[in-house]
């Protein structure tokens, strides 16, 4: 009876497992294999083993250099702003009049699909008719070429990312703040702690694990940024807003059809994300926090 039950259970789960292997494991293994080959879909020939040539090419590719530069810029600028802003908002709206409404409204950007957000921002940043330039003109600022200037296009991508993902950080930290026992806050107040001291000595230590996890999740997402760039600047002007993910897309699917090289780039990105997240987990001693 028990054997039968187990057999039926296995049969029931088997289609999903097969699907998972077919759609996840197999493509991943294929990608690893392809990264060691010369395999270009526009060349109409079978993949040819070339060893590490694709990986060596990465270090000689100017496109990689510019995409890495922009990706680092995103991490260094967008991520801290999102963390600080999300945390600040989470703290600020506590006990605010209309807190629930404000909370729901703040989540809206996160719920908008990235493609829709890209189209929307492209309209907002329109040089001639966009509301952003119109609002700036009220302060005497000349029209800015948001999508046609190196500096402004990068700023535009950063603004879009902050707009869309600060709510995510807000949501997590807000939920975290709700779980802090009020007794601790009351006790601190009784001891004469001011708001800043309560934040620094009570709330932040208790939110440490959530902050760490949020930081790691956002870091991974920023390293994979693609959709807003695709919908707005398409990596331009020049190579100004090529993120690493966007460059992989260009190589693999857009102009290159170089599946082999694109696979190598993808694996490098995966390795970088894995290494960075492990470094962060170690630095933040996340396993200790989670064990506690």
């Amino acid at each position: 009876m028990e054997t039968n039950t187990r057999r039926i259970a296995i049969l029931m789960v088997l289609p999903l497992v097969v699907l998972f292997v077919a759609l996840t494991i197999f493509p991943f293994l294929f990608m690893i294999g392809a990264s060691f080959t010369r395999y270009n879909l526009s060349e109409w020939r079978a993949p040819e083993f070339i060893g590490l040539k694709n990986y060596i090419k990465i270090f000689q590719d100017d496109g990689v250099k510019s995409s890495v530069t922009f990706t680092i810029l995103l991490v260094v600028i967008a991520l801290p702003i999102e963390m600080i802003l999300g945390g600040f908002i989470a703290l600020f709206i506590q006990n605010l009049v209309g807190e629930r409404i404000v909370r729901s409204a703040l989540l809206l950007p996160m719920m908008v699909p990235a493609v829709v957000a890209g189209v929307m921002w492209k309209m907002l940043f329109n040089f001639e008719y966009g509301p952003v330039n119109y609002l700036l003109s009220l302060f005497g600022v000349q029209k800015l070429s948001w999508l046609g200037d190196i500096g402004y296009s990068r700023l535009a991508i950063i603004i879009m990312d902050i707009w869309q993902w600060t709510p995510f950080i807000f949501l997590i930290l807000y939920a975290g703040l709700q779980t802090i026992p009020q007794d601790f806050i009351e006790a601190a107040k009784v001891d004469g702690a001011n708001r800043w001291q309560i934040l620094r000595n009570v709330e932040l230590p208790m939110l440490q694990s959530l902050v760490s996890i949020t930081l790691i999740l956002r870091l991974i997402d920023i390293l994979k940024l693609f959709d807003t760039i695709y919908m707005t600047t398409f990596g331009g002007p020049g190579y100004a807003t090529h993120s690493f993910s966007f460059y992989i897309y260009k190589v693999s699917l857009s102009f290159g059809w170089d599946v082999g090289y694109g696979s190598a780039l993808s694996l490098v990105l995966l390795a970088v994300i894995t290494i960075l997240t492990n470094i962060l987990i170690n630095r933040l001693r996340l396993w200790e926090i989670l064990e506690v």
Partner: protein
Amino acid sequence: MKKLLCSVVILSIIFSVGLLPTVGSAQQVTLNVWASPDNADALSDISQRFMQKYPNIKVQLTPISWEVLYPRLLADIASGTGAFDVATWDVMTAGAMSKGFLDLESFKKQNPDLVDPNWDPKDFDPTIWHIAGMWGDKNIGIPFYCNTMLFYYRKDLFNDVKLKTKFKAMTGKTLTVPKTWEDAIDVAKFFTKKYNPDSPTDYGIALMFPRTHTLFYMYLLFFAPYRRSAEGMKKFGALDLDYGDYFTGDKKPAFNSPEGVKALEIMKALMPYSPDPLGSDYGETLEYFARGSVAMVPQWTGVWATFKTSEALQPIDKKVGVAVMPSGRSVSGNWALGINASSKNKKEAFLFIQFATNKENDKTKFIKFGVAPSRLSTVKDPEVRKADPRVDAFLKTIQTQSHRPRIPQEPKLEDVTVGFFSEILLGKRPNTVEELNKLADEWMKILQE
């Protein structure tokens, strides 16, 4: 054991029900047609009439954006899955697509009973037939949308007496529709408010130089006049239709030359008189002109439908004029209809593309949807000429237009070029022959790979 048997029976029933429609409709053929948005409306209309004529053939049309269509087509023909039967392919993808599309000439010889005797293959311009139909000696498509760029301008402003007087006073020249790009610089400046506060428009010209394939073809508007001049033909050699105007006659880059530098100089000179050229693409420039913000715009033929309904451009016959491109060289942007070599419905697919490209439908799609005609008979038809004032300019343009490369390496060449040109226009790279030589070296690396 009983539970296992039940599971198997249930799964079998599910599979059987799923297969029923296929088994029951063995006589009905469904054609999967993938089309770019430019062609989708016209093809949809044609499909309705086709299905009335051939009730056993159902046409399932899927519009796919330009950026996604090419990779999807390439993925399907490379893998041979036959997910589509018919597709529209863009002219510069001919080389890459060639192996995956059916040779229509061979197919016709094998299936003479399917050939329409009234179809008239001689009714196509030979150059258009080559670039949108042939690769080597293989006929991989039939020209469907003979797109080209025309020069649209505000007729009312160019005819305005006060503006003519003012222009004469400012420049010493007569205000006319620019015949050269050098003329266009003066006119564009005149119609830009920043340089002429009395200008009726904010900007003189709407240009699109974004970091996409758009910049690749826009460059040819400025370079091709040099490439195809008498001096240019002597220097660069005869044009090879597969390699196009970016190349010399012996298949080397031609743009790394003083002429290539001059083309970029003119583009840079026009930029101050255009709203955000590096950040604007098709949609933006269309809007600038449709809203009356600019006096001139080089654009594709498909914009006419938008201009016809734009409030700021009414009445359109008084406000919008159409001319050949300044300096006389436009750029081709043809779409062809082809059959997937892996299609399981080749006969039905052939009937469809033959129907879609016959004389009647070529005329109908132009009048109804503004899809530029592929057939000479359409362009010469009095009814068509009456319906659309652009026909004369269109006919002159397709006979003199420049062409992008159609070779398989085109997408790579395009990407590295637009990145480079974009940086030159931004001022990040110098505009010199030496700098363009670096791009040419990249091209040679790609071609030799």
